[in-house]
Every structure is written in C-alpha cells, then in structure tokens.
Symmetry: C2
Subunit: 380 residues, 2 copies
C-alpha cells in the first residue's frame, strides 16, 4: 500500500508514521511538510520515500541539497500541486487549517482513499470535497476521533433510523473557568488539554469549543445528518468518542483510548482492523462522566453554528479570523478573550458574499486574513 503523507511533521503526520512503521506492507510513497525540514530530513532517512515536498518555497530552496539522489523533490505552491498528482492507495491529510483544502481537492482524483484529519476543508468546503470524491470514486475516511467513531457506529450498524447522535466533548483546558475568568488565562494553561495531545490550533479551538462546532458541521457533511439530530455531551475523559441513539432509545457508544494512532490506523486499514496497542483496561477502577454543555461558557460554539446557518461566506470569514486570532494569541500579542472579541466582531460586521465555487472560498479567506490582521493589530 502506497501512502502519501501530507503534513508529515505535524502531530497527525508523526503519529501516522508510527502506525506505518509497524507494518512492512505500508510504504511511504511521499512526504510533504510546510517547512519543518529538520524533522523531515530524519523522516526521509527512516522511511526513504520516493517523493518529497516542502511547501514553503524559500525553505524548499534551502533544503534541495539534502534530497537523496533517487528522490524527486517538489517545493513551493507549484511543487505541491505536482506532488498532489502522484498516484497513491491512501493519502493521509494531516495539514492543519484551510491550507489543506487545495491539496485535498487536487489530490482526490489520484488516490483511492483519503484519511482526512483536517476539519476545516470539510467545514468550509464539505460540498465541494464530497462532490469531488464522488466524481473520482475516492473514499474519504474521517480521522478525527469523534467523526471516526460516528463512521464506525453508522457503518457497522448500517442504520439511518436513529433519534440522534452525540458527539462527546472533553470541554478542553478551560472547562472549569467562567467566561469572566478568561481574560488573563495564560497560553500555557490554554495549551494544557486535559486528555488529548494535539496541534496548537486545535487545542485552542478545543478550549473555546470552536473545534466542537466544527465537528458538528463535519458530522453533518460526512453522514448527511440534519443538525437537529446532532447533540453534544461533555465527557471529560475523552474515552467515549460518539454515541448513537436508535429509535428505540438504545444507545451504542464507541469507546477507545484517547490516542490518535487508533483512528489513524482505522482509516488506513478499514474495513480490516488495525491492531492497536492501546487498550482500555477494565481491570482498573474508573468512571465516565457526562454533563450537558453550558451555553454561557462557550459562546463561540453557538457562534460558529449560527454562522453555518447563514449559508453564505460567514463561516469562511470566521474560520480565517479564528486562525489568525489564535496566531496572535500564540505569539502573545492578544489575550485569550481577544479571540472571542475578534470572532464576535467579524460575525456582526461582515460583507455578505455567496460561495458558489471553490474560488469564492479562497477569495473570502484571503480577504478575511487581511482584515483580521488589521483588526487584531488594533487590539494588540
């Protein structure tokens, strides 16, 4: 099985390589990173891919000299486009943010299966992505644990006849805070996710529950579930990833250890089973807690879902502003509530636009990034 790995040096990429190296039948066809060439070099030595791509042009130029002779090297945006046309059995999409959308769309015709860890491309462009996948008969398997768990529940039960699905939410790093306490919360605190070790943006999105709103939208696109049938339940332990309530009120829960190797392995091996090393051991004493989501503490969760309802460019703008605001917070230029302020601002003050083609998304995404920076500079 030839695997193309997009975002190889990120959290998903690194875990994917851990899974791949356990099985001789899985071959890394190509590795692609944005610009972490130090780690990329180590990965090249270990996995000996035939194709290598560095998306950042400058970094790519500098890195060229390290490429082994029998490898083909791509760099920059045009290099990435070429890299996307390599034929693979599975493409693992571990690029974070909306930057995943272009390579995803470009790559769909050339792979048999996408193991998709990226949320934004579905949240913002779900219709386009699934249309493309249908056109080229490419499977898209969700890696995101909650959506992956839903995939397992819905596929295995082969069931459309349900009352509702529940997506679980750990509640993130700030669950026990009140909104009034959030002004001076430190970056370190926000990045200390209680149950998952993930990339920085997703960890911060988890603390605002923007991430969870994205998952609701993902579930809608992946499985064609109306929003009124999708519920959230706070489950601090992150062991149950999703629940399916049938018409008879019987609930089936999908439970696995909170280690991303499991859904990544699932996405590679499905319909075969990935032999994960992580088990939940019932020889220990433990509990699973459940509580409803408190509307007041997580206003951005509802903001994102409200934006989705507008069915225009609103969600594209919010996603871009969220990404930029998080960058500013990560660079300690704004405080945590600055993210809230920025998203509330653009939610209320935005120029309406229609999203009819993929280019509209890129147009509004670019526009939003410029405007977000202008706004955030004033906040600094």
């Amino acid at each position: 099985m030839k695997i193309l790995l997009f975002g190889s040096t990120g959290s998903i990429g690194r875990t994917s390589l851990e899974v791949i190296k356990r099985d001789r039948d899985l071959k890394v066809l190509g590795l692609c990173t944005y610009r972490n060439t130090n780690l990329l070099l180590k990965q090249i030595k270990e996995f000996m891919p035939k194709y290598i791509c560095v998306i950042d042009k400058k970094e790519g130029l500098d890195f060229k000299k390290y490429i082994p002779k029998n490898c083909k090297f791509f760099y920059g945006e045009s290099g990435l486009e070429e890299f996307c046309t390599l034929k693979s059995d599975i493409s693992i999409m571990g690029i974070s943010g909306i930057s995943c959308l272009k390579p995803l769309i470009k790559n769909i015709p050339y792979t048999r299966r996408v193991a998709l860890a990226n949320k934004e491309s579905i949240v913002i462009a779900g219709d386009f992505v699934f249309k493309e996948a249908l056109k080229y008969n490419t499977e898209i398997i969700p890696v995101d644990s909650e959506i992956n768990a839903l995939f397992q529940l819905l596929k295995k039960f082969n069931c459309n006849d349900f009352n509702r699905i529940y997506i679980t939410a750990s509640g993130g790093a700030l669950f026990d805070y009140k909104i009034s306490d959030l002004k001076n919360v430190t970056l370190k605190k926000v990045l200390s996710h209680p149950t998952w070790n993930m990339g920085k943006r997703i960890t911060i999105d988890s603390s605002t529950l923007v991430n969870k709103a994205f998952e609701v939208i993902e579930a809608h696109y992946y499985f064609n579930i109306p929003f009124e049938k999708i519920d959230i339940v706070i489950h601090r332990e992150s062991k149950i990833h999703a629940l399916l309530e049938l018409k008879d009120n019987t609930i089936f829960a999908c439970v696995y250890d909170n280690n991303m190797s499991i859904p990544i392995g699932f996405s590679i091996y499905y319909p075969k089973l990935f032999l994960s090393k992580n088990r939940i051991d019932f020889k220990n004493k433990f509990y699973f807690s459940f509580q409803p989501l408190d509307r007041k503490t997580f206003p951005l969760f509802y903001l994102i879902l409200d934006a989705k309802k507008r069915d225009d460019n609103s969600l594209v703008l919010l996603n871009a502003w969220d990404e930029i605001a998080i960058d500013y917070f990560l660079n300690k230029k704004i405080n945590f509530l600055g993210i809230h302020r920025a998203l509330n601002y653009i939610f209320k003050n935005y120029p309406k636009g229609k999203i009819e083609k993929l280019e509209d998304i890129f147009y509004w995404d670019n526009w939003a990034r410029v405007k977000a920076k202008e706004y955030l500079e004033r906040l600094c």
Copy 2:
C-alpha cells in the same frame, strides 16, 4: 401477532403485558401462571386471551369456575403440556427457575420465536434447548438485559472477530459488604437491589453474583463464545449492559435505561425497533462507574463457573440447591450465609452423574431438591 405468555403474573409477565397493551397488533393468545389466580383474573379481564393455564393443579381446580365461557382452560402439569402445544408467533417465557425448562422444550416446536427471560433453562440445558430450536427453526431471543445487549452488539456488528465481551454487573444489594458482614444481613437488605426491580430469586442471586455466573454461561451458549473471552465488569449504575471489544481494541457499549420493558419490547419487535418510553437523557449530569470484580467477596460466582467446567451433573445440583436455599432464606429459616454454606457443601460432596439426556437433568434436579431440604432442615 399472537403471543403466548408463560409466567404472566411474575415480574417479566407483568412488564410484558405493559408492552403488549401499547400495540393493537399484539394479541395475547394465552396466559399461564403458576398459581397467582387473583392477578390472573384481572389479566384475563383486560387481555381476553383464548387460552388460560394455571400450573398448580389444586389452584386450577378452584379457579375453573372463573373462566369465561369462550376460553379454553388448562391446569396441572398435563394441562401445561397441552397449553405448550398452542401455535403462537411469540412465546414469552417468564417462568422462573428450572421449572421453565419443560414448557420451553415442549413449546419450541409450536412457536416461531421464544422471548426467553429464563436463565436456568439455558444454564442447565443450553445444548438441549438450542438443538431443539435448530430442529424446529425457532428463534430464541434473550430478554435478560445483559444477554440482550450482547445479542444486539453481536448481531448488528455481525462480528466474530473480537477480543472479548464484557457483561456488566451492578454488584447487587450487598456490594459494599465484606463476606464477614454477611451473616446477619437482613432479607429486606438483600431484596433492595440498587438498580433493578426484579423477582425475588434473581434479586438474591444478584447479591451473591450467582446470577452473573449464570449470565456468563448464558453468553457462552447463546453466542458460542469461549469462556476465556467473557469478562465481568462491575458497573453500579446498570445502564451499560454489555460491551464488545473488537480486535483493534475499539469497544462498543450497549446502553439503555434499566427498565425490563426495553429488552422485552426488543425481543417482541426484533428486527423492528420497539419504541421504548425510557430514555437516558444526556441533559442531566451523571456518570458511569467501572471497577473489577473482587474475587473474595463473591465466592459463589466462581463456584458456579467451576461447576460448569466439570461438565457433569454438578451445575444441575448447585442450581437446585441455590433455589431451595433461597426459599429457606426467604422464609427466614436460614441466614444469608446459609446459602453460601449449602452451595459449598453440595459443590464438595456430590455424587457424580452424566447429563446425556433431558431426563437426566430432571432426575438430578429432583434428587438435589430432596437432599437440599434434608441439609437445610439441619441448618435451621
């Protein structure tokens, strides 16, 4: 759908009638009770069955005059045998103890489906029961919630490729007691099951975990699962009834409210869904706890499974002694540990015998009842 209800005045019978009366398409063809004719009379007036059976001969003779003219009445052992040959779509077997075995075997040829709430007939005579069911192409659907949950998990996943199954155990009324505290425990305390409202014998069997050992044996027979793949986990809340751990360590849990109408409804409607009124509402705050079984507190659990391994008449004897000892305890003739003493005694001092045909079971069951009474009278 014509339903024959065995044990109509017991806990399972009464709940079954609650389910049946919600659906005009479900017709009570016949009602059968051991001797609770007061309640039976009310049930006859409400459900107007064509056939009525009172198993106790004396009680039956007395009751004869109350039978409506358009009804056929059966009583005594021979009456029960005739009642068993009535053709039905579903037979609900709610008779408790080994007395269910004969009517079950007699009835299998004449019904399309048995909704089986009785454990003992499977635990003691699983091979005979399933052979008969196969011969007459009669479905047997388990009503017992844990086994019912396993049925749902294994059927819907259509999966033989699992690491293990877990049967959950509430731990019963005496879970927080030490074995040394049990001598003077009151009947009232033993009957106060934390989560289920059930018949008396099963409630007491829950407090010793004999009931749970029976479920392990049931799971073995129903689904052909080797004993080493069946685990127990203490789950005090009785909302998760069973869990299935696949080869990839992903676990699927079957969750429903601890109300017997749900598995009874399931057994009637399957593969259609029973529209239960009981929901687990995630708008509330709650938790599910898990802990391993403590070997020392529940010696009878292991005793029963050890008896099963002997593959002789041992389990027949233990079941009979358990039933008789519980009668003595219910009549306050012995204390709670008397049940332990009796079962330990017969486990150690029993005449080995082979179970080759159904008659062997009845022979050893009768023998055991006589001997149990002799032993228990001395204990009084």
